[in-house]
């Protein structure tokens, strides 16, 4: 399609990309229809739509990335299928059983990029963040991925398990000071721990987005489990404090907030990427330039965090709203699954997974449209990046499984 728009004809590479899309999403969808027949059927099609638009955009921005991404797509759907098969006999209950194993794994994965860069499996720093793990064998870089993306999923599973364990205490034991009902200090411990963990991610890996995502998802899950807004308020205060401290202490956080407040004052510097994103959005107007006909290549590293701006330039406001609505529908579907789930663990897990989709897409969509500071996080299913694709496809499979296990 892009090739045709540019006056060329459909070539083998474009056809292959299309074929991979159909096989990966279509295959997984068909498999899920058999494995979890009672699940809501529209989870995968929505994500597939987003993914297809994203892949076309990546293809037009950077052909090499698109060829990598389509292999990752196959890997991701294969892994998602394996997860689905693994959950076939015992269902999601098995996830609850191994929650501490998941926590351990998540922490190891989070710390993995700190591995010295001399080992065959080494940590790599790219664009100022140390988030990557690279397999280096026989003198060649074989494959590189972001373990944090998988850890994100494992942490949500752990939290759902942990919070459903603690739910009775969370619900009952509030201390009353007059009219003010405060949670007991012991309950606040996990909040503090989560705050510390997210700050750790921010400080040691300089990953503002992941840190914010983890903390927000955790806080909201805690709120869902306890029903107490006090957790939210306290957590919000803590995070604001942390953000202020980060603004003072870390150049990269301060630069992002300054660029958000006024991208034009340092147009050639820190504001450049955001300004280019706004130009792309504005130039897209209502109907867009048409795929392949805009100039989203003017946005630096458009294929990852800023993929949405590139897409919105080429498919316009009409298409951009379509994408946003797709995310909203996915979140709504996930929340619906949570509401109908039969026990607290499944409710929390479904909520947590929906929150990951919702918060992550809001963070980055808000970032590129200057509603929020740019936090640097990928857009689920759309951005270029293999590990995120794997994690988010597994996430879909889990949601589908939870939907299948709904109380009838």
């Amino acid at each position: 399609m892009v090739n045709q728009a540019r006056g060329g004809s459909l070539d083998a590479q474009a056809a292959l990309t299309g074929l991979v899309l159909v096989i990966a999403w279509g295959g997984l969808h068909l498999a899920l229809r058999r494995l979890v027949p009672r699940a809501v059927p529209y989870l995968l099609p929505l994500a597939a739509l987003i993914c297809a638009v994203g892949l076309v955009e990546i293809y037009r921005l950077d052909f090499h990335q698109a060829t990598l991404q389509r292999w990752w797509l196959l890997v991701a759907s294969g892994l998602a299928l394996l997860v689905s098969l693994g959950l076939r006999s015992n269902g999601t209950a098995v996830l609850r059983r191994y929650r501490y194993l998941f926590l351990t794994a998540a922490l190891i994965l989070l710390a993995a990029p700190l591995l010295p860069s001399t080992l065959p499996l080494r940590g790599v720093e790219l664009n100022g963040s140390r988030l990557w793990l690279r397999l280096h064998l026989f003198g060649r870089d074989l494959v590189q991925f972001q373990p944090g993306e998988i850890a994100k999923l494992l942490l949500v599973i752990f939290l759902a398990g942990y919070l459903s364990d603690r739910q009775p205490e969370l619900l009952s034991s509030a201390k009353s000071w007059g009219r003010l009902r405060l949670p007991q200090p012991r309950q606040l411990l996990p909040v503090a721990l989560a705050w510390l963990a997210s700050m750790g991610v921010m400080v040691y890996q300089r990953d503002l987005g992941a840190s914010l995502l983890l903390f927000t998802v955790f806080l909201l899950l805690l709120y869902v489990a306890s029903g107490r807004a006090a957790h939210l308020a306290l957590g919000g205060l803590l995070f604001m404090g942390g953000t202020l401290a980060a603004y003072q202490m870390f150049g990269h956080a301060a630069a992002r907030i300054d660029a958000w407040l006024d991208p034009w004052s340092d147009f050639e510097g820190s504001g450049y990427q955001l300004a280019q994103s706004l130009f792309a959005l504005g130039s897209g107007s209502l109907s867009g330039s048409g795929l392949g006909l805009g100039r989203p290549d003017l946005i630096p590293v458009a294929s990852t965090d800023f993929i949405f701006s590139a897409v919105a330039e080429e498919i316009g406001l009409a298409g951009a709203i379509g994408i946003v609505v797709s995310y909203a529908l996915l979140v709504a579907a996930g929340i619906g699954i949570a509401l109908r789930a039969r026990d607290p663990f499944r409710k929390l897990l479904a909520t947590g997974l929906s929150l990951v989709i919702g918060v992550q897409s809001l963070l980055i969509l808000g970032g590129v449209t200057r509603l929020l500071p740019v936090t640097g996080i990928s857009l689920p299913w759309m951005s270029y990046g293999g590990s995120a694709l794997v994690a988010n496809m597994v996430l879909l499979v889990l949601l589908a499984r939870l939907s299948h296990e709904e109380a009838r």
Binding site: G284, L293, L298, L317, A328, L355, R370
Partner: protein
């Protein structure tokens, strides 16, 4: 637990709603602003990929055209260099569009192709190919103006008084638009910082004290009111004492206006006597003088395609207790300010039956197959004076060129009339003016010449010595190509 799940979901929903609203704002409302921001490289890319139609002089000389490059993009070239920089203007990636390149951008530029909105446009029949412009400007007269002004600072405006076609519109110093077309901003920044202000359009976007050239208006006001005729006699002192003040008005270079004790209006106009015209203005009163100036276009926005300034005369009320000020205004000093374009329009009123046509630059808009898409229609802008007053003024102005201050504007075989002006500038050399007309049979030309700060003669300059010869050169060039309609391709 379901309650808090619902609340959380509601929170996320609000987030998505905000996102949609913000997107709508960015893409639909603020979109055009971002799209046209000069820092948006898309603007430059789109310009380079858009063909613009040619701009031709009235004789068909190419003034601007798009040349296709090997990479398929277009390069705008101005073969006549600086000669038309203030009229044709330029289409620059860094500095935007100016002149006709700006005002006619919609017609000159082809609509973009290949985009979805372009497809919608073509379905609605709104898509178009690049159109070309044929101007009223005469390459012959424009060149003559540039040669005659030389390196002096100033401006020339010449037009056909019967139609309003602008034949020459030149401001000196000029600049080469090619300097502004490149990717580097330094040459353009240097032009902007240049103390001689080459970017300034002195023909329409700068105002000067008109000096004695304003006596055309003073005379018109007196003739129209019936307070004078060309034979009216006025006292002829060496110095005119201004009532209510110690100030006096004397004639240029001192002395009286002719040898006699009285001077006629015709002689005073011919010799440009300040003493007489100050009396004319003071006897007439401010109301009549200001009304006549406004009828001739002062204090009004001239309906012209390029951005021009209004010429200004203070209100009649401001002269209520200022008879000396009125006298000085009558001879074109004090707070009077006029553009060369305005003075050319005054000349046009005199050259015709007293009416001023809308001045215009674009004769026709034509398609790639040279079919005329649109042709200018002459329109009357103002009735500056009655036909009788115009006829009387023509006699006065013919006299000034035949045997007065404007003799150096004479051209063999052409009947030339005009009024010189030497406007005093505090602390500097005077501005030299010549405002006049020329006729051959039924053809006529109205023009205004301004030379800033005395030009080559500096302090010694007068309108007659500096500006009149330039007018003569332009009229001479005009006489070679008249009648004009034979020289324009149809």
């Amino acid at each position: 637990m379901n309650t808090s799940i619902r609340r959380t979901a509601a929170g996320l929903l609000v987030g998505f709603l905000l996102l949609v609203l913000n997107l709508t704002y960015l893409q639909a409302i603020a979109g055009p602003r971002y799209r046209d921001d000069l820092r948006n490289r898309r603007v430059q890319v789109a310009r380079a990929e858009t063909e613009r139609g040619p701009i031709l002089s009235r004789e068909g000389v190419v003034l601007a055209q798009s040349r296709i490059q090997s990479d398929g993009s277009f390069l705008r070239v101005y073969p006549e260099g600086s000669l038309y920089a203030h009229t044709v203007g330029f289409s620059s990636l860094l500095f935007g569009d100016r002149g006709l390149e700006r005002t006619r951008a919609q017609q000159l530029a082809a609509s973009p192709s290949g985009t979805i909105s372009a497809i919608i446009d073509s379905l609605l029949g709104r898509a178009r190919a690049a159109l070309g412009l044929r101007l009223t400007l005469s390459h012959t007269l424009q060149t003559a103006a540039a040669v005659a002004l030389g390196n002096q600072t100033g401006a020339v405006v010449a037009l056909d008084p019967t139609t309003g076609e602008v034949l020459a519109y030149y401001s000196s110093p000029m600049f080469d638009p090619a300097l502004l077309l490149g990717e580097a901003s330094a040459p353009g920044d240097a032009l902007e910082a240049d103390p001689t202000q080459p970017l300034l359009d002195r023909a329409g976007y700068a105002t000067y004290a008109p000096g004695s050239a304003f006596k055309i208006i003073t005379a018109a006001a007196g003739l129209e009111a019936g307070s004078i005729n060309s034979g009216s006699e006025f006292p002829n002192p060496e110095q005119l004492a201004l009532p209510g003040s110690s100030a006096t008005i004397s004639n240029f270079g001192g002395g009286r206006c002719g040898p006699a004790d009285t001077a006629t209006v015709a002689d005073a106009f011919r010799l440009s006597c300040n003493t007489v015209f100050a009396q004319v203005a003071m006897e007439l009163g401010a109301e009549e003088l200001v009304a006549r100036a406004e009828a001739a276009g002062f204090n009004q926005a001239i309906p012209f395609e390029l951005a021009v300034l209004d010429s200004a005369i203070p209100s009649a009320e401001s002269f209520a207790n200022d008879r000396p000020g009125l006298g000085q205004t009558g001879i074109g000093q004090r707070d009077l300010r006029a553009t060369p374009l305005q003075m050319a329009l005054v000349a046009a009123a005199v050259a015709t039956d007293g009416s001023i046509m809308n001045p215009y630059l674009v004769e026709e808009v034509f398609t790639a197959s040279l079919q005329v898409r649109e042709r200018a229609e002459p329109r009357v802008w103002k009735r500056a004076m009655s036909p009788g007053t115009a006829a009387a003024l023509r006699e006065l102005m013919l006299g000034a060129v035949a045997s007065g201050t404007g003799t150096r504007a004479q051209v063999d075989g052409v009947s030339v009339g005009g009024k010189t002006g030497t406007a005093e500038v505090p602390g500097g050399a005077p501005h030299a003016w010549f405002v006049g007309f020329a006729t051959i049979d039924d053809e006529s030309l109205a023009l205004a010449v301004l030379v800033e700060s005395g030009g080559a003669l500096g302090e010694e300059a007068t309108g007659g010595s500096v500006a009149a010869p330039i007018a003569g050169a332009i009229i001479s060039a005009w006489s070679q190509i008249t009648p004009l309609h034979l020289s324009s391709p149809e």
